[in-house]
């Protein structure tokens, strides 16, 4: 057929770009995510200008030149074999810093909508990531539709759009196991409920343990999993090699294997929740920043944004790693700290890797996406707290060395792009949920330490019910902000990275 291709790497046609323009926002980052243009072997070298030309000629609202913003180019400039990166060295004693791009680029003032914002709403949700959007959707199921969601960038600009898409029930506490299992159920039927494919693929999670300490940890949590109906098995290194024959099992003492864990494609979850919530009357305002709060008599009266003030009854702070910064505007101290986590993606390969594999000792994890890329990362124990979304060569080196130790053929596989996202880290690795002492209508939904994506469907289902009915729910009593002052921490050990 005579198609006009825009992105030849990913087979994206001009008609598809034009369709995307009618379906949603017309900024280049959003169009890129919705159509997949610029994400293939050439990383946009061949197509970016063609898309910008189409937008200038055909977008429903002609963009001004300053509204046509090139997407952020990601290193490397050309696909580069992991063995090159593995050949460099790094100082494990030094804290990583810096990165490219140097400036944070999740928001863009030139893309701020000019239309006035709603001046009054029952509920304002700050943060248009998976938490905020799924809460908005669940609130509509409870009959609450007078809801505004505020997002500082495009949808998927924050951690919800930057994660590896791993979904697992292998957790270390009964609460998280229960939540994760419910989330997995909801994610399995997401396409049916929301009308958008999320590529939910149950390839399992294979945790590798290299030290006696970690072996004891996975054995202990496997017993807990089995009590809660999660079929985790402890395997010997040889048996784990049967799951993924390409793995060397170098230094591996045992493995935990749950074939029911899964990998999803994160972005469509946000679009699905946003679209369906909007259909029921929720306002989702992108490129809109919160600048402050008007407080009176122990309550938030108004949320002040760069597009005007919104008077409201309840505010939910669901801004992920940005939550502490926003809470400060209301005079509330959150112990959350942003920590950069870097991640990268390789050239697309024919399917060979079923599960998501993670080495618990080092924080290495990798899986194969539905497009065939090896997507993976590795937390850096020396990463300092602070909002930084830069990418470093140090990460590629650490990751390449750790990955090729487990999967030697990956040395000749080329890295296509690297990026990073912020973990929202709390002192006990557990979330902050529920009310604020002294500010009764400011509710928290943050602090998920890199696993918020997989918890969101279940947590927000319960939160919406709790908000709408007032029925008590232990989640919003146990995981409160006040626990830190009261000294009752809720420690979670099964954190990757």
């Amino acid at each position: 057929m005579s198609k006009s291709l825009v992105c030849a790497c990913e087979d994206v046609t001009a008609s598809e770009i034009e369709h995307a323009m009618t379906k949603g926002p017309c900024d280049i980052e959003s169009i890129k995510r919705f159509t997949g243009f610029g994400t293939g072997m050439c990383q946009g070298k061949q197509c970016l200008n063609a898309v910008a030309r189409l937008l200038e000629a055909k977008a429903p609202q002609k963009p001004a030149p300053e509204q046509l913003l090139a997407f952020t180019p990601r290193p490397p400039l050309f696909p580069t074999e992991l063995s090159y990166w593995a050949s460099a060295s790094f100082d494990p004693a030094l804290a990583p810093g810096g990165g490219v791009p140097g400036a944070l680029d999740v928001t863009a003032p030139t893309l701020r909508p000019t239309a006035p914002i709603k001046s009054k709403a029952k509920i304002v949700i700050i943060g248009g990531g998976i938490m905020g959007l799924s809460l908005a959707w669940n609130l509509t199921l409870q009959g609450e539709t007078d809801v505004v969601v505020l997002e500082q960038g495009y949808l998927c600009a924050g951690a919800s759009g930057r994660n590896g898409g791993g979904i697992r029930a292998q957790w270390g506490t009964p609460t998280l196991i229960t939540l994760a299992r419910r989330s997995i159920e909801l994610m399995q039927r997401f396409a049916r409920d929301m009308g958008i494919n999320v590529w939910f693929r149950q390839g399992g999670y294979l945790f590798l343990a290299k030290s006696d300490d970690v072996v004891r940890r996975i054995e202990k949590s496997a017993r807990l999993h089995n009590q809660h109906g999660v079929p985790t098995e402890i395997l010997t290194a040889d048996a784990a090699r049967d799951v993924v024959p390409e793995l060397t099992m170098k230094g591996v003492k045992a493995a935990a294997w749950n074939p029911k864990d899964a990998v999803i494609f994160p972005w469509p979850f946000l679009w699905g929740y946003a679209t369906q919530a909007q259909k029921r009357g929720v306002q989702v305002e992108t490129f809109t920043r919160v600048q402050g709060f008007e407080l009176s008599q122990g309550k938030v009266k108004k949320v002040i944004t760069d597009r005007g003030d919104i008077e409201c009854d309840t505010v939910v702070l669901a801004a992920g790693a940005w939550s502490a910064e926003i809470a400060k505007l209301a005079g509330v101290h959150l112990p959350n700290e942003p920590h950069r986590h870097e991640i990268c993606s390789t050239e697309p390969l024919k399917p060979f890797l079923g599960p998501l594999v993670s080495v618990l000792d080092s924080g290495l994890y990798f899986s194969q996406s539905m497009r065939g890329e090896i997507v993976g990362g590795m937390g850096d124990p020396r990463e300092p707290a602070g909002m930084n979304l830069g990418s470093t060569a140090r990460f590629l080196t650490r990751y390449a060395q750790a990955l090729t130790e487990q999967l030697p053929q990956a040395g000749a596989v080329k890295v296509l792009r690297q990026w990073s996202g912020p973990y929202d880290v709390t002192p006990d690795n557990s979330p902050i949920l529920g009310k604020t002492p002294q500010l009764e209508n400011l509710l928290h939904l943050s602090g998920f330490v890199g696993h918020g994506f997989m918890m969101a469907p279940a947590v927000t289902e319960r939160m919406a019910k709790w908000m709408a009915t007032g029925e008590s729910d232990e989640l919003f009593e146990r995981f409160t902000l006040s626990r830190f002052a009261e000294g009752r921490l809720e420690r979670e050990d099964m954190i990757i990275g």
Binding site: S2, A8, Q46, R192
Partner: protein, 415 residues
């Protein structure tokens, strides 16, 4: 035959089991084109045939499996005796691909968000099929050989790109006695002076340069900027005091129906094949698009024994099933041809500059993103300069003048 000059020394390479003769050291893609082969690979979703487009490692249309490694840009790999090439992502093979049916089933495009979304049973089937069809190449057969440890270098002034602008700068600096290190990923200095059809008077100034040195990233770990360079099979981490980027352009795919057919190439790719590899990509070449380049290319094609048509016209559509067999243009109606050379397809390669802190803005006039800099090439980052086509389309003389101006500013501030 599309070879302008006969092969003097031949080696044998293998493509999907067939033996082919080629010139040692020439780009693999050029060797295959010389055999009249334009169809190199299959596209990911619709399994449309694809062939070389940019001939400079900036697109994905010429990828093949080479000696057991997946997704190798054949335009960047030199021919070696006994080399094994395989077409990827086709069933049963690259010549006949039954999955091309996708192209006809999804006539306009495939809505991957909504297709069978939530349809019981069908969605599971879709997931299984999509998974099986995903990916391009197959995982490498063996573990990669370990590389020599990366080399850390500390240099003063670094110039990346030995094209018109980079050479303009290098020449001025050499004359002033200012030390610099010049990197280029090609096998010779010159950039478009070696490949473009237009303004090709005189040989490039033979600057001392590190060749086959590909800059793959500009990083700033711990706030200190450095380049990651692959050179001689080794990674170099090159710290610098000042950086002049003169990396030129990538080729943007022009938008028209069947623009991805094998035989649609950038004007510079067609010209470069003639000038450097001595290969005329096809007998009849439609030299479409920007007029100056198109006219120059038409002359070059004729001098190589080919026929030029539709010179400077706009393409309405390309025709052909496996590769281009005709073109319809606004002025000329439908005409038979094997190659459509898109002139004026080049757009600035801004990635490194952006990583280095330069601003990038859309130019409505030039219809491309350009790097922002002052008359001397200074960017928002005071240690980063840019010159040449990264700042927008310009002749090689203008690019050389910009390189010269940037060099003067750098040398001035150095002394």
């Amino acid at each position: 035959m599309p070879r302008i000059k006969p092969l003097e020394s031949k080696v044998t390479i293998e493509l999907d089991g067939d033996q082919l003769q080629a010139r040692e050291g020439e780009p693999v893609a050029a060797a295959l084109i010389a055999h009249g082969l334009l169809s190199f690979s299959r596209s990911p979703k619709y399994h449309r045939p694809r062939g070389p487009f940019c001939m400079s490692g900036g697109c994905s249309q010429c990828l093949m499996r080479v000696d057991g490694l997946p997704n190798v840009p054949t335009c960047r790999v030199p021919v070696k005796a006994g080399m094994r090439l395989e077409r990827q992502n086709a069933m049963p093979d690259g010549r006949l691909d039954l999955l091309r049916a996708n192209d006809f089933i999804f006539r306009d495009w495939f809505n991957h968000h909504e297709f069978l979304a939530g349809v019981p049973i069908a969605e599971h089937l879709l997931l299984k099929i999509a998974r099986e069809l995903s990916g391009l190449g197959i995982l490498p057969e063996r573990a990669a050989a370990e590389r020599e440890p990366a080399i850390v270098e500390h240099l003063g002034l670094v110039i990346v790109g030995a094209g018109a602008a980079g050479l303009g700068a290098a020449r001025h600096l050499a004359e002033r006695g200012v030390a610099f290190s010049l990197f280029d990923r090609d096998v010779a200095v010159g950039g478009r002076l070696l490949t473009a059809a237009e303004d090709r008077q005189g040989a490039p100034w033979p600057a001392p340069a590190r060749l086959r040195a590909e800059v793959v990233g500009l990083f700033a770990d711990a706030g200190k900027p450095f380049l990651a360079v692959t050179e001689g099979g080794r990674l170099h981490l090159v710290f610098f005091e000042r950086l002049l980027l003169t990396v030129g352009t990538h080729a943007t795919l022009p938008t028209f129906p069947n623009n991805d057919l094998p035989g649609v190439m950038s004007g510079r790719a067609v010209a470069g094949l003639i000038r450097r590899a001595g290969v005329l990509a096809g007998r009849r070449v439609a030299c479409v698009g920007e007029a100056t380049e198109a006219r120059a290319l038409a002359e070059l094609v004729k001098s190589a024994g080919g026929e030029a048509l539709a010179v400077g016209e706009e393409v309405v559509r390309a025709h052909g099933l496996r590769s281009v067999d005709a073109v319809t243009t606004t002025g000329g109606g439908k005409q038979r041809c094997e190659i459509i050379a898109a002139c004026g397809a080049q757009t600035p390669a801004f990635e490194l500059a952006r990583a280095g802190g330069a601003e990038v803005a859309w130019s409505s006039q030039n219809q491309c993103f350009v790097v922002q800099a002052d008359a001397q090439g200074r960017t928002a980052n005071p240690t980063l300069f840019v010159a040449g086509e990264m700042r927008g389309p310009m002749s090689s003389a203008a690019a050389a003048a910009q390189g010269h101006a940037a060099a003067m500013a750098i040398a001035g501030s150095a002394s």
